[in-house]
C-alpha cells in the first residue's frame, strides 16, 4: 500500500461523506483538550527561552530594545505554530498510529470490513477532520501562551521597557500574521493526521507488538520532519 494510494482514498473518504460524528467529537476532544496541558507547559518555556535568547543575541550589538519585534516575528510567525505542530504531532500522531496499528494487529479493521463498514470512512476520516480542526486552535492558543511568556521574561526578568515592547509588537504583528499561523495550523494538523493514520493503518497482524512500536516511531519522526519542512515552504510563500 503506497502513501499516495492511501492519501487518495483518505481524501475521497474525507470529502464525499459526512464522518461519523460521535467519533469525530471523541477524537477532537482527545487531540485538542488532551494536548492543552503539555502544550501550555512547553510553549511557556519556549516563550521564555525565545525572549532570553533574543536578548542575548541582540545585546551583543546593543539592540535589546528590539526584543518586542523579535518575539513577535520569531514567535507568532514561526516558532509557536511549528512547535505546537511538532509537540502535538508527537503526542496526537503517536496516539493515532498506536491505536490504528493495535486495531490492525488484533484484526479489528478486518472485522469492520466484514460488517460492511468502510474503515477509511469510519476510522480515518473522523481522525483527519478532528486533528485538522484541533491543530489551528492549538496554534492560536500557543500564540497567546508564548507571547505572555515572552512578555513576562522580557519585562520582569530582563528589564525591557513594557510600553516599548508592546509598541514594537503591535507595529510588526498584524491580524494577517495570526491568520497565517492558523492557516499553517490547518496544514500541519492534516499532515500529522494523514502520516499517523498511514503508518498505523499499514501495520499488519504478523508484525505484532513490535509493529505498534515501529508505527509509533515512524509517525512521530515523519510528522515532525514534514511539519518543519512544510513550515519553511509556507513561510517562503507567505512572507517573501
Amino acid at each position: 500500500m503506497s502513501f499516495f494510494w492511501f492519501v487518495r482514498h483518505a481524501l475521497v473518504a474525507q470529502f464525499t461523506r459526512v464522518p461519523p460524528l460521535d467519533q469525530f467529537v471523541r477524537h477532537m476532544v482527545d487531540a485538542g483538550v488532551g494536548s492543552i496541558g503539555l502544550l501550555t507547559l512547553l510553549i511557556f518555556f519556549a516563550g521564555l527561552s525565545l525572549a532570553v535568547q533574543g536578548y542575548a543575541a541582540f545585546v551583543r550589538f546593543g539592540g535589546q530594545e528590539f526584543l518586542g519585534l523579535f518575539c513577535g516575528i520569531g514567535g507568532i510567525r514561526e516558532l509557536y505554530p511549528v512547535m505546537a505542530a511538532v509537540i502535538c504531532g508527537a503526542r496526537i500522531g503517536a496516539n493515532l498510529a498506536a491505536s490504528l496499528a493495535n486495531m490492525q494487529i488484533s484484526e479489528q479493521v478486518e472485522a469492520l470490513e466484514v460488517m460492511g463498514i468502510d474503515p477509511m470512512n469510519y476510522l480515518v476520516a473522523p481522525r483527519l477532520w478532528a486533528v485538522s480542526l484541533a491543530m489551528p486552535l492549538l496554534c492560536a492558543y500557543a500564540d497567546v501562551v508564548g507571547l505572555a511568556a515572552s512578555y513576562l521574561a522580557a519585562v520582569h526578568q530582563l528589564g525591557v521597557n513594557p510600553g516599548n515592547f508592546m509598541a514594537q509588537l503591535r507595529g510588526i504583528v498584524g491580524w494577517e500574521d495570526l491568520a497565517a499561523g492558523v492557516f499553517k495550523g490547518v496544514a500541519f494538523g492534516w499532515l500529522v493526521a494523514i502520516v499517523a493514520c498511514y503508518h498505523g493503518y499499514r501495520s499488519a497482524k504478523r508484525d505484532g507488538a513490535e509493529g505498534v512500536g515501529i508505527a509509533t516511531n515512524r509517525a512521530i519522526v515523519h510528522s515532525a520532519v514534514l511539519c518543519i519542512v512544510l513550515n519553511m515552504i509556507l513561510s517562503a510563500i507567505l512572507y517573501v
Partner: protein, 253 residues
C-alpha cells in the same frame, strides 16, 4: 493535585535511582562493547536524515525572516551575528536532541518494551544476564555519543542553509555575512551546543531505558512507552534550555 505532585516526585525518585543503577552498571563490568557500537551505528544511520531535515529548514527560516526585519533598519549585514548564536547555542542542539529523542529514543523504548511484554527481559534475568547491563547501558552510551556528533553536523548544515537563503537568495553582501559571523561566534558557542547535546542525549537514553523496562499491557503499552519517551524528553529539553540560557546570560557568556 496533592496526589499528582506526590506521584511526580515518586517518578522523579524512581528515575534518579534508575540513573544511579545505570551508572553503577557502567562502572562495574561486564560491559557489552560490541552491542554498544552496533547500536550506535544503527541509531546514527537512522537519525542522520531526520536530524538534517529538521535543522536545515530552521536556518533557512531564520534567514528569511531576519532579512525582512533587518532590511527595515538597513542593517541586513548584521543578520549573521543573530543567525550564528541562535543556530550554535539554541536551535541546532535543541532540534538535534528532539529528533534523536523522536527517532532513537522511541525506537529504543519500543525495542525494550517489546522485549519486556514478550518476557524476554525476564528470560535474560533468568540466564543471569543483567537486563540493565545488556539492554539499557548500550542504548544510553550510544545516545550519549551520537547526539553531540549529530549536533556538529547539524550546526554546519544550519549555517549553510542560513547562508544560502541570506547570500545567494536574498542578496546580502557575502563579505559582511562572513565578517560578522567570524566576529560574533566564539568557541564558547560551540562548546555550549555540544555540552547541551551530551546532556540531552544521555537523558534520551536514560528515559527510553527507564520507560521501556516499565512497559506493561501488550502491544498498546509498547506504543505508549515510545510516545511517553518523546514527550518527557521534549519537556526536559525545553525546560533545561531555558535554564541554561538564563545561566549563560547571568555569566555573561
Amino acid at each position: 493535585m496533592i496526589a499528582g505532585v506526590r506521584r511526580f516526585f515518586a517518578l522523579l525518585g524512581e528515575i534518579l535511582s534508575f540513573a544511579v543503577e545505570v551508572a553503577r552498571c557502567m562502572i562495574q563490568g561486564p560491559r557489552f562493547w560490541a552491542e554498544t557500537i552496533r547500536l550506535a551505528d544503527v541509531l546514527m544511520r537512522r537519525c542522520l536524515i531526520p536530524v538534517g531535515l529538521a535543522v536545515a529548514p530552521v536556518g533557512a527560516v531564520i534567514s528569511l525572516q531576519g532579512v525582512s526585519v533587518f532590511r527595515m533598519f538597513g542593517a541586513d549585514g548584521i543578520l549573521s551575528s543573530m543567525l550564528a548564536p541562535a543556530i550554535f547555542r539554541q536551535y541546532s542542539p535543541a532540534l538535534a536532541s528532539v529528533m534523536v529523542a523522536a527517532q532513537a529514543g522511541s525506537s529504543i523504548a519500543a525495542r525494550i518494551g517489546t522485549m519486556k511484554v514478550r518476557g524476554q527481559i525476564d528470560a535474560l534475568a533468568v540466564m543471569s544476564v543483567d537486563p540493565i547491563r545488556y539492554v539499557v547501558v548500550p542504548g544510553f552510551v550510544a545516545c550519549l555519543f551520537i547526539t553531540p556528533l549529530l549536533n556538529i553536523l547539524t550546526t554546519a548544515l544550519g549555517l549553510v542553509s542560513g547562508w544560502f537563503f541570506a547570500v545567494p537568495v536574498s542578496g546580502i553582501n557575502p563579505g559582511a555575512f562572513t565578517a560578522n559571523l567570524y566576529s560574533q561566534v566564539t568557541l564558547v558557542d560551540l562548546w555550549v551546543g555540544i555540552g547541551k547535546c551530551f546532556f540531552f542525549g544521555g537523558a534520551v537514553g536514560l528515559i527510553a531505558g527507564f520507560l521501556g523496562l516499565r512497559t506493561t499491557g501488550g502491544a498498546a503499552g509498547v506504543g505508549k512507552s515510545a510516545n511517553n519517551t518523546v514527550v518527557y524528553t521534549i519537556i526536559l529539553i525545553l525546560v533545561a534550555d531555558y535554564l541554561v540560557s538564563m545561566l549563560l546570560l547571568e555569566l555573561g557568556l
